[in-house]
């Protein structure tokens, strides 16, 4: 009897402690909640409303119905921006993932100093979307930049890669591929999860390297590839800094680096048409949502879950 009482007493004090803990936790989280509410959810909700208005940032918004959304279908520069963005996403993401997987497999062979290499390869991911790197990029790919100096050693006359509309987007794709660190780390973790017995069994059966990769690594890694694919596609759609800095905020030359987000920004902050910019933001959400949905649907045909 007394033991039961004791237990009850303990339990009761336990809930009191838990209650107090919860309260403390809430107060520690409060700044984050406030941030979420005022800096994220509030503006997101407001932008939905603004999408139906004409709003020049200073005077009060004017309701104009669906005009902004209608404009999306007739705006030729937007269609060009969509083309640029799709090219960027569809080329740079697969390249980046292939690169990340390749490097992860190299590192997975148990190199000495693995931790060092892992960090070194991860570094660009931390820096990649920063202004400093974008500035560096304009130096590397400028008319008198590093790339052209190296080419000159081989007697090749380079050009201003960033200031030529035919190559400007490619330099941004290279920049994105270079920031392969985050998916690489995830691939590396995934590769470690694949039981060695499969490879041993395959080796005994005399299976070649390519077949081992094709029939063991790829299927077992497919959930990880899928995860990286979804994440990087969303990430690539939202790229902004690189294009902004490299083109000096113009999306040029000739709109060749005009990412969707940059176009959206220009509508809001150069043309002071925040209503249209808000509508564009919601349209981008739809696009990313559609891409992600297609991804999840297609995953049924190629992603293999081992459990």
């Amino acid at each position: 009897m007394s033991a039961l009482d004791e237990l009850r007493r303990l339990r009761r004090s336990g809930t009191a402690v838990r209650k107090r803990d919860n309260k403390a936790a809430f107060w520690f989280l409060a700044p984050w909640f406030a941030g979420l509410l005022f800096v994220t959810i509030g503006p997101v909700a407001a932008s939905f409303g603004l999408g139906f208005t004409k709003y020049n940032l200073i005077q009060p918004p004017k309701f104009i119905g669906l005009d902004n959304f209608g404009r999306i279908f007739t705006d030729e520069r937007l269609h060009n921006a969509l083309g640029v963005t799709f090219t960027y996403v569809l080329v740079s993401v697969p390249l980046q993932l292939a690169f990340a997987l390749g490097v992860a497999m190299l590192l997975d062979r148990g190199l000495r100093g693995l931790a060092f290499y892992r960090s070194a390869f991860y570094l660009p991911s931390l820096l990649g979307s920063s202004v400093a790197i974008a500035v560096l990029w304009t130096q590397i790919f400028g008319a008198e930049g590093m790339v052209n100096r190296v080419l000159a050693l081989f007697g090749i006359q380079g050009k201003g890669w960033i200031s030529d509309p035919d190559t400007a987007l490619s330099t941004l794709i290279v920049l994105n591929v270079w920031t392969f660190g985050a998916p690489m780390i995830i691939f590396l973790a995934g590769l470690r999860q694949i039981p060695a017995v499969y490879y041993e069994a395959a080796a005994i059966d005399g299976v070649g390297r390519w077949s081992r990769f094709r029939h063991i690594t790829l299927p077992l890694l497919s959930p990880i590839i899928f995860f990286n694919l979804v994440l990087q596609i969303i990430h690539a759609f939202q790229s902004f800094t690189q294009a902004f800095v490299v083109s000096g905020g113009t999306g040029g030359p000739s709109d060749s680096t005009m990412f969707y987000t940059l176009y959206l920004y220009q509508q809001g902050f150069s043309r002071f048409d925040m209503g249209y910019a808000s509508a564009l933001a919601w349209f981008l959400l739809l696009i990313i949502g559609a891409f992600t949905a297609i991804n999840f649907w297609a995953a049924r045909f190629w992603v293999f879950y081992d459990d």
Binding site: L57, I58, G142, G160, S163, D166, S247, T250, G252, P253
Partner: protein
């Protein structure tokens, strides 16, 4: 349980937020009030190159010596980043108190209510040194939203060192045609061997050149109502000229041109001595000379002698404006007054922002001018001009970005000059219309 906690937390959070807002709103006073004796911090923003930053900082220090309780914090940028930054700070209700304003954006900011009517601050701001016509360039619908700083005119800057080096004769700018410019440029390019070119291509950050081109053809970019009236054929000729000099190698290859155009004054072809002729505002001569170290000379634009009336005009090089949401309108006006009227300040600034529009200060500094400043002032004084074009209509502030993109389309062969002319007019007109 969480909802309960949130419900309990909501009120304190809201109350504290309201309190901070109320504190923030209550500290201002009117533009005609007395100057504060409490410490005041003003933010002052301008665009420009190194030379301007140094001079402006000196003037700020002079002002602070006179008003020990006022601190002026300078925020300066290159032209390209300046307008992005101003747009975002104004939108975030965090506009600098004193704003260096340009004719391109004046209507846009004034008509959206972002600028203070300086007439309200007359108590602290003396405008008696300004000609009525000059003041009018900063007024819209009778409200003085901006005070003109200096006057400037569009010109060709020629590197006479390069001409001498390659044995090219200096053209006579009282008679020369666009064809003469092209020929002189060709000679330089031929002698320059692929590293120095004759002409730095224009058509990027360059609404001035476009105005002049349209006016030489007897037209104008905008009419008084803000309608785009320049005939397509005139613009087609403009881009054909640019395309021809690029193709012939008289101007650098398009990628080099584009790179230089977006890199700012100090990396321009003129500043790096890689082009002999280029279009600039006459007041940029001093900054360009400082950057290039070469002998530079101002020439009148080609084609002026052949035009029916001079296409050149005095453009207010820039304006001083005060944010309509400043918390210290009186102090901000006092600072603008210092910039516009103080003799000591004028002697530091000289003509770097243009030949002073304020006639009193102009007279005060004539004896002080350096060689390049004097050359800029003389150029302006002797230049035949007509009335300036109307202020850039609200909505057309992005004209330079539009122009740049269309010029790139032409140079990179993405559109013909003819297609470009039609597309440019259509786009510019729709920008003006959509801001209405």
């Amino acid at each position: 349980m969480l909802t309960q906690v949130i419900r309990r937390a909501v009120w304190p959070v809201l109350l504290s937020l309201t309190a901070t807002l109320m504190v923030a709103c209550s500290s201002g006073s009117g533009a005609d009030g007395e100057l504060s004796t409490e410490p005041v911090t003003l933010r002052f923003t301008w665009w420009g190159a190194d030379d301007r930053h140094k001079r402006t900082q000196q003037v700020i220090e002079l002002f602070q010596k006179q008003h020990p309780n006022i601190t002026v914090r300078g925020e300066f940028k290159e032209w390209n980043g300046y307008w992005d930054s101003l747009a975002t700070t104004v939108a975030a209700n965090d506009a600098p108190d004193i704003i260096q304003m340009d004719e391109l954006y004046l209507a846009s900011y004034a008509e959206r209510g972002a600028l203070l009517d300086l007439n309200e601050a007359r108590k602290h701001l003396d405008t008696s040194g300004f000609d009525g016509k000059a003041l009018a360039t900063g007024a819209i619908d009778g409200k003085q939203y901006a005070l003109p700083v200096g006057l400037a005119a569009y010109s060709v800057v020629v590197n006479t060192d390069l001409l001498a080096k390659y044995g090219v004769a200096l053209p006579d700018d009282t008679k020369w045609t666009w064809e003469d410019l092209r020929k002189a440029g060709e000679q330089v390019s031929k002698a320059g061997g692929g590293t120095v070119w004759g002409i730095q291509s224009w058509g990027f950050n360059d609404a001035g050149g476009l105005h002049v081109w349209a006016r030489q053809a007897g037209s104008a970019l905008f009419d008084d109502q803000g309608k785009v009236v320049v005939p397509p054929k005139v613009l087609q000729d403009y881009w054909t000229y640019l395309l021809d000099i690029a193709k012939a190698g008289t101007a650098p290859p398009p990628p080099v041109t584009v790179e230089k155009a977006s890199a700012g004054l100090n990396q321009s072809a003129t500043a790096t001595n890689t082009a002999a002729f280029a279009m600039w505002w006459n007041t940029q001569l001093t900054a360009l000379t400082a950057a290039s170290g070469a002998k530079l000379k101002l020439l009148r634009l080609p084609g002026e002698a052949q035009a029916k009336a001079p296409a050149a005009y005095y453009k207010p090089s820039m304006f001083w404006s005060v944010s309509s949401r400043t918390k210290h309108p009186a102090e901000a006006a006092a600072f603008v007054n210092f910039l516009a009227n103080n003799e000591e300040a004028a002697k530091v600034l000289l003509t770097e922002r243009g030949v002073p529009a304020n006639e009193k200060t102009r007279a005060a500094i004539t004896g002080q001018l350096k060689e390049t400043d004097k050359a800029a002032a003389d150029f302006l004084g002797t230049l035949p001009v007509s009335d300036p074009p109307r202020v850039t209509p609200n909505g057309a502030s992005t004209i330079e970005a539009i122009l740049k993109r269309h010029t790139e389309n032409v140079l990179f062969g993405r559109a013909t000059p003819e297609q470009t002319a039609a597309a440019f007019i259509k786009e510019l007109q729709s920008e003006v219309d959509s801001a209405r």
